[in-house]
Symmetry: C2
Amino acid sequence: MRSAPSGFSTKERILGVAETLFARHGFAGASLRQVTAAAKVNLAAVNYHFGSKESLIEEVFRRRLDELNRHRLAALATVAARPDHTLEDVLDAFIRPALEQSMDSAGGTAFVRVLARAFAEHDERLRKFLSDNYGHVLREFAAAFARLLPQLDKQELYWRLDIVAGALTYAMADFGMIKRKGDVSERSHREQTIQHLIRFSAAGLRS
Amino acid sequence: MRSAPSGFSTKERILGVAETLFARHGFAGASLRQVTAAAKVNLAAVNYHFGSKESLIEEVFRRRLDELNRHRLAALATVAARPDHTLEDVLDAFIRPALEQSMDSAGGTAFVRVLARAFAEHDERLRKFLSDNYGHVLREFAAAFARLLPQLDKQELYWRLDIVAGALTYAMADFGMIKRKGDVSERSHREQTIQHLIRFSAAGLRS
DNA sequence: GTCTATATTTGGATAGAC
DNA sequence: GTCTATCCAAATATAGAC
């Protein structure tokens, strides 16, 4: 348990490297050999710790998504408790936790790009896994949006949420790669980005 | 030259099937064996007609992108010639040709999803190919947007265009899968979608 | 838990007959 | 231009020693 030079267990190193390579090359495009080589662990370690490549992929999601969704739901609950909450508040509850995670955790920016991959992926099993385990979060947000946009019928609302979710995913995926000017702190850069995305999304949803 | 039962040449059948399977499983995820089996051609036909998988991928893009970009540039030129043209006009020139192609050509909906894949793909060679061959189109549109949004500095504009392009790509990719109500014609459904996307994008760009 | 070695499958590409 | 057969590399997965 802990042969790792870096202080991380073999399992954690595999997860971290897999996240990076899946973000860069896709799930089919990144091989277990690339992963184990980059993580400096033995090839057999993946199957020992995870059983299969597919399970490794699921673990890459689980590791961050459990926490991210906990934060999103907590933020949504806080917001929804205020009787005068706005569309912008709900969008904030959705966007802020993702960007916070992506900036605070090492490899967090890679994970947001993995999320974008999942969005593009139409693989049946992956979609089912995500829907089974995390679908309820999106449904709660959808319900919150529906209450704030009663003028839109259901079909129109879902169509717009789909665009917004896609746009946000892409924007956040690219966020890590945007170079900020040297004179703004990381914190205020993130805050600016959050405000931009909120205004952008709100404008699209209400238009 | 023409052994195909469907009236399409072997080469065309390969391209059509490849487009569908690349859209569904990604470029790494769809194998040449799957492609040739579905196209009911021999495995060796791919290398005979295209030389390699990579060249096949490029041909899948070229076949539709040449035409699409011709239409986009023509529409942009028409719009830009009018001194009072608006942001909405430029967005129309970008969006309409894509949706027209996706609805008029068989397999066009698949191609829009291939485009979405390319957007998510960070593969060096693919990006270089697309940038080398079609980058000038996006630069022309970017210039047109810049003229209409002089209050935004360059960095901010690119950041927003990136989001809008991502959102539009995703929206158009999903468009083919959205079931329209039975009482609206295909044509008016498309027209409604175009108007939605334009308003949505314009709101985000101006916000 | 980690290693080496290997089984097994799959994928891209070619050779050569027709 | 199309076919069969085959080569070779790469990938996932497992067996078994340590």
